[in-house]
């Protein structure tokens, strides 16, 4: 197996094919702190792409509650079981990826979930990590009792395990934008990808007998638009764009800024070795050990940085640009009180105030001669 470089592990690793980074790599930022688990993203995706028969169970986008929610059931627990205990040393991954630990007969160390595991998408929803005793107050960070929401899509990995596992090369990564697709004509339904994907994001269609997966709304990407799950997000937690290759940083690129400059957004279970391209801002109130397990050794810096957002007009401004336009923001800047997003030609797409105007209403409404209640 060739050696490739995985920047998230800070070391070379074995992979089925030679390193071949796309000209542009699609990437997302998800701010878990703002997600309200309304599932609008899930429904936006479902109604756009998977409303057919054989696709009923497919949630290319799902939102699960951590620590007790997962779709498919137990996917992350099983992944951690496969991967063994965390093995980070000074920011470098010292353990084995799913490629490196593959038994001789396999390309990837994986496992195949049966239908039972795909039958409970809302298992554990809103369940906290402990039991609340009478009189419990949650008054410090991180909370003693916690839960958080994890929105999940295919990570359009730089080193996709799904692609490595397919003996027919029916899965490909587009050189123009890094989107990973299952060729619907070539797939023969072997489900090797479903077994290999650490994030369990390829799904077999029992009516067409071939496998399907998130397509990153590529018809929208091709027009410079962000995917459905991003543009429909009620919480404005999401941003889609392109990440620069390792060793390159463009601080005006919103994805680079959050991932590489501020290091506030982290990959999910990077130890898998696939170099996933959805970057999460960790939920600051959740247990640190749990977050380190999920997002690796960068968690402490990410949480501390995020908690200081207020003092950082650049970052605050960028957060305000989330959900502000359907178009992909390639560059941004914060000028005075305004945050501005630009397209690839430098044309302004949108500008938003860094601090939204707020009005404090009088407690007593003189016109209507009544008291007003604050309901938010």
């Amino acid at each position: 197996m060739p050696d490739v470089f995985n920047w998230q592990l800070d070391r070379p690793m074995k992979y089925q094919y030679e390193e071949a980074r796309p000209q542009k790599q699609i990437a997302w930022i998800f701010d878990t702190n703002k997600c309200i688990a309304c599932q609008t993203c899930t429904i936006a995706c479902k109604s756009t792409w998977t409303s057919g028969s054989g696709q009923e169970y497919m949630l290319w986008n799902n939102v699960e509650t951590k620590p007790f929610g997962f779709f498919p059931t137990g996917w992350d627990v099983k992944l951690l079981e496969i991967m063994g205990p965390d093995a980070w040393k000074d920011g470098k991954f010292a353990g084995q990826t799913v490629f490196e630990s593959a038994p001789a007969a396999e390309r990837v160390k994986g496992h195949l979930f049966d239908a039972d595991h795909w039958s409970h998408p809302n298992l554990g929803e809103d369940e906290p990590a402990g039991e609340a005793a009478r009189g419990t107050h949650i008054d410090k960070l991180p909370h003693d009792m916690w839960f958080s929401y994890l929105a999940r899509i295919c990570n359009h990995c730089t080193y996709p395990a799904c692609l490595a596992a397919c003996p027919r090369q029916a899965i490909y990564k587009r050189p123009e934008d890094g989107i990973v697709l299952v060729d619907q004509e070539r797939c023969r339904g072997y489900q090797e990808c479903a077994s290999a994907c650490p994030y369990k994001k390829t799904m077999y269609n029992e009516d067409t007998r071939v496998t399907e997966k998130c397509i990153a709304c590529y018809p929208k990407i091709e027009q410079g638009l962000q995917p459905q799950c991003v543009t429909s997000c009620i919480g404005r937690i999401r941003l889609a764009g392109f990440i620069s290759p390792p060793g390159k940083i463009d601080p005006k690129n919103p994805i680079d800024y959050l991932v590489k400059v501020k290091k506030v957004a982290l990959p999910l279970y990077p130890q898998s070795g696939t170099e996933p391209n959805v970057y999460y801002i960790p939920p600051v109130h959740s247990k640190r050990e749990y977050l380190r397990q999920m997002f690796g050794p960068g968690v402490d810096v990410a949480v501390d940085t995020y908690l200081k957002t207020k003092e950082d007009p650049q970052m605050l401004g960028l957060f305000m640009l989330f959900g502000s336009t359907e178009r992909i923001i390639r560059q941004f800047e914060v000028k005075g009180s305004m945050a501005i997003g630009y397209d690839e030609t430098g044309k302004e797409l949108v500008s938003v105030p860094v601090t939204e105007p707020s009005v404090v209403r009088e407690y007593f409404d003189r016109v209507n001669q009544t008291y007003v209640h604050n309901i938010t």
């Binding site: 009923e56 396999e106 195949l112 979930f113 004509e185 339904g189 072997y190 077999y204 029992e206 067409t208």
Partner: protein
């Protein structure tokens, strides 16, 4: 799980375990490379002959219609079977963890225009549905597409200059033909579909809700005429459905075994189809999948090339 009460046949070669099979294969491949010969097919054939144990598979001539859709026909059962030792495919990843179908019994007949193979193996579970983490039983025969290049054609699904013609029978397709196209509703009888697209609109429009079907993936099509798929390959991972589908066949499962007939024209239409002429001796290879053991694709049993004498027309 497959069992075979007859025990290992040993007619083709004596080793039966996967490990031995692989080591032997590699040893032979090494020896062949040193001797300057090419192609795994040659290796298998030569080794078999050296042992002197192999009798050729005889494809008998029989005038008139062959019982191509009746695997239970006395025409087949009265004929003695040639036993082929199967090996677990462990040359290309991923492999099946273990050999579960050690022997395949093969009978062959032709009538001058059509050639038919009767394939029988022990399998006490009938796996005919393909679903989530669920796979169907199957069997395949393989011939070099070009007889002239046969000696150089690898048993490992051919190579770029040496394509192979593969005919695969699938239990899932047989089930579709026998009792209607299977859907998720057959796999999960209690599944709730509010309405299927094809109930709301003409099939041509409904197809766009089924991506594989819409783009013409042969596995997604619903208008099957045969349980046998004709394909061409030029090495592992290259299996491609042939444009001209002419093969027919039938499989039945009873008494803990499959009996399957695969038949094709001796002079098939289209490029890269094996043309079989009476009087020839040709190499033929086989593969078997036990779906109940999660076998599919490269997770299979395969056989080295077996010489097949095609009887002259009497």
């Amino acid at each position: 799980m497959a069992t075979d009460s007859d025990g290992p046949a040993g007619t083709q070669q004596s080793e039966t375990t996967a490990e031995v099979g692989r080591r032997q294969f590699l040893k032979r491949a090494g020896a062949a490379a040193a001797a300057g010969t090419v192609g795994a097919g040659v290796i298998g054939y030569a080794a078999t002959n050296k042992r002197g144990a192999a009798k050729s598979l005889v494809c008998g001539y029989r005038a008139g219609d062959l019982p191509v859709v009746d695997p239970a026909s006395a025409v087949w059962t009265r004929r003695s079977a040639f036993k082929v030792t199967m090996l677990v495919q462990n040359i290309a990843t991923p492999h099946a963890p273990a050999l579960v179908v050690p022997t395949l019994k093969v009978r062959a007949l032709h009538n001058g225009t059509q050639i038919a193979f009767h394939l029988e193996w022990a399998d006490n579970s009938k796996d005919e549905l393909s679903g989530l983490a669920r796979f169907n039983d199957a069997v395949a025969v393989q011939l070099a597409a070009d007889f002239a290049k046969e000696a150089a054609t690898g048993v490992t699904m051919g190579a770029v200059d040496n394509p192979v013609h593969i005919l695969q029978w699938k239990a899932s397709w047989q089930s579709d033909l026998d009792s209607g196209q299977k859907t998720s509703k057959d796999i999960w009888p209690n599944i709730y579909n509010d309405v299927r697209p094809e109930q709301l609109m003409p099939v041509d429009q409904a197809k766009s809700w089924y991506p594989g079907w819409a783009v013409g993936n042969p596995l997604s099509q619903r208008d099957k005429k045969s349980p046998v798929e004709e394909m061409v390959a030029v090495g592992f991972g290259t299996l491609t459905t042939h444009k001209e589908q002419e093969a027919v066949g039938k499989g039945i499962h009873d008494r803990n075994r499959w009996r399957v007939v695969i038949a094709m024209p001796m002079k098939g239409n289209g490029a890269n189809k094996a043309q079989v002429t009476p009087g020839q001796t040709r190499q033929i290879a086989f593969a078997v999948w036990d779906g109940g053991e999660d076998q599919r694709g490269s997770r299979k049993q395969y056989a080295l090339w077996v010489p097949m004498e095609v009887e002259a027309v009497a």
